[in-house]
Amino acid sequence: MTDIASLIQDTRVYSSLYTDPEIFACEMAEIYARNWVYVGHASEVPERGDYVRRTIGMEPVIVTRTTDGINVLANRCTHRGNLLCQAERGKRRAFACQYHGWVFNPSGELVDTPFPAGGTADHSSLHLRRATVEQYRGFIFATFAEHPIPLLDHLGFARQALDRASDLSPAGEVYIGRTWIKHLFQSNWKMLSENEADGYHVNFVHDSFAKAIKRQAKYDNVLSGDEQQVAAVVRSLGNGHAELDYAVTYDRPLSWLGVKSNRYPDYTDAMTKAYGAERAIEIMRAGPPHTFIFPNLFLAETCLVMIEPVNVGQTVNWHAPLLLKGAPDSINQRILRQGEVAMGPSSFLTADDSIIAERQWRALLGSPAWLDLSRGLQRERPRNDGVIESHYTDETPNRGFWHHYKSVMTSAPAMAVA
C-alpha cells in the first residue's frame, strides 16, 4: 500500500491520488466512513416517517425522520445483505426487506422475522448499522465513527457559510425540494471539488460564458483580466473547507442575484422585520456562500451540491436550488433560474468544468506526475484564527484541502468505525 503521506507535500501532490483505485478505497474507509459527511437537509424529511436515500461514501443509507429526530441507517438488511430500500424517497413506518420479510423499525432495530420458530439468531445483534447524526441550521451530517468529534468542531469556520446561506431567509431557514439534478462525470471526486474552490480557471474555462453574457456584478470583477483589479478572494478555512468570496465585489443589496436592490420589496420588508434594517441590508448585499465543506458538500451560492463518489474515475454531483423559507415566490423563482446558469449537465458553467476534470483524469492516468499547487504562497495572508486568505487566483484552497486530507488519511485510527 502506497505511503500516502509521501504523495502530499506543501506545494505539490502526486497524481496517483486521483487515479489509484487503492487510494480511492482508502479514502472511502478513512475519510467517508470515519468522518462527518453531509447527508441531507431537515426540510427534505419534514414529517415523521419521511425518508430519503443517500450515500456515505459508497455505503447506501436511509435518512429518516422519527419522533426522536433524524436517524441515518445503513440501507442493507442484516440477514443476507439485500438493499432494504430501493425508492429514492417516501414515507414508511417500518422497513421490510423484500427478500425474506425481515422488518426493521426506523431506529434500525429488527422487530419482526417471519416464521420465527426456525430462527436462531439473537435479534438485538441484528439491528441496522446506525450513524451518529448532528444538524446545524437544518443541514444534517452523519458519521459511522465510534467516537466522533462534535460536528461544530469539524465545521469550524465553515459554520459561517451555513449561517450565510440560511440567513438569506427571513425565517433563518433554507429548504430543499424533491427534485435533484445529477451530473455525471468521468473523473475523480476530488477534481471537481478542487475546481469549485478555484478562481484561477474562471477566465479560461468560462471564456465562452464571459463572451456570451452581459457582464455584471461579480463577473465584471473576476473576468476583467486585470490581476490587480480582481477583488474577490479565496480562503482556506481549516479542516479541508475552502471558499471563494465575492462579497467585496457586490456594492449593493441583491446584485449577487443580478437584480436591482428594490426588486423584491416584500422580501426586503420581511428581512428588515427579521434582522433589523442594517443587518438585513448587509446580508442582502454580501449574498450567499461559495463554500466547499469537506468532504462532500458544496454551497454553490443559489444551489446546494452533494458530491457522490462512484469509483476512482467516476463521480456524480447532485444539485438542487437553496430555496428561502418565508421569502416571496418571486425571489425563489429567481434563485432557481440563477442556479440553472451555474450547475448541472447543461449549465453555462459546470458543463465545461466537468470536461476539464475528465481530460485531467485521462491525461494523468496515462501520464502520472507531480502537480504544482504553489500559486500564491508568497502573498497569502494567514489570520490569527487559522484561516488563510489570498488573491482570487491563488491555490490557497487547494493547499488547505490537501493538508487536511493528509492528516485524515494518515492519522492513527483514533476513531474506530462503529
Partner: protein, 166 residues
C-alpha cells in the same frame, strides 16, 4: 377547427420541419437552427420523475428565448469546452403524431434517440433516448418552432454534460 383531422400534406410538412430541425441540431448548425425559432420560443428539458409539481423544481434546461440566445452565443464562441470540438451526432425520430393546437399551431410528439460521440474528453458514444414534443407555428416565413420539450428516459438519473442541442 381543432376537430379537423391533420391532412397528409400537413403531416408531411410538419415531419419535414422536425427532421430539418433534427439535422441542424445533429450538425451543430447553430445559426440555421436558431432561424427556425419564434421570438417566444421555450426550450425545456425537465428533470426528475415527473411527480414534482412544485414551481421551484429545477430543470436540466429551462430556457426562454433570451436565455436560449445566450446559450447559442456561448456555443458559437467555439470555446465552450463541453462542445469544443462539437459532438458528432445523429438522431432517429419515430412514433410521430400530430395534433392541432390552436388556429395556427400544431403539436408534434415523437420518440427519439440521439447517438452522440463525445469528442471533448471521454471519446465515448453516449445514447440519449426520450420523448420530444414540438410546438410548431405557421408564420409568414413558414413553419417555426415555438416550443420544444424533451423528456429524457433517464432524466431522474445521473447525466453526462449535455451541452449540445437535444
Amino acid at each position: 377547427m381543432t376537430d379537423t383531422p391533420i391532412s397528409e400534406t400537413e403531416f408531411r410538412a410538419l415531419q419535414e420541419f422536425v427532421f430539418t430541425e433534427a439535422k441542424y441540431a445533429d450538425e451543430s448548425r447553430y445559426d440555421e437552427w436558431e432561424a427556425l425559432l419564434t421570438d417566444d420560443m421555450q426550450y425545456r428539458v425537465p428533470a426528475g420523475d415527473g411527480t414534482d409539481l412544485s414551481p421551484f423544481a429545477p430543470s436540466i434546461i429551462n430556457d426562454n428565448r433570451s436565455r436560449l440566445a445566450t446559450r447559442l452565443r456561448q456555443l458559437r464562441t467555439g470555446t465552450r469546452l463541453s462542445q469544443a470540438p462539437p459532438s458528432v451526432m445523429r438522431r432517429l425520430i419515430a412514433n410521430l403524431t400530430a395534433t392541432r393546437a390552436g388556429a395556427i399551431e400544431y403539436e408534434m410528439q415523437g420518440n427519439f434517440v440521439v447517438y452522440e460521440y463525445q469528442t471533448q474528453s471521454t471519446n465515448q458514444l453516449q445514447v440519449w433516448p426520450g420523448q420530444a414534443t414540438w410546438r410548431i407555428r405557421v408564420t409568414a416565413d413558414g413553419l417555426r418552432l415555438c416550443a420544444k420539450t424533451v423528456l429524457l428516459v433517464h432524466r431522474s438519473g445521473p447525466l453526462p454534460s449535455l451541452s449540445f442541442l437535444i
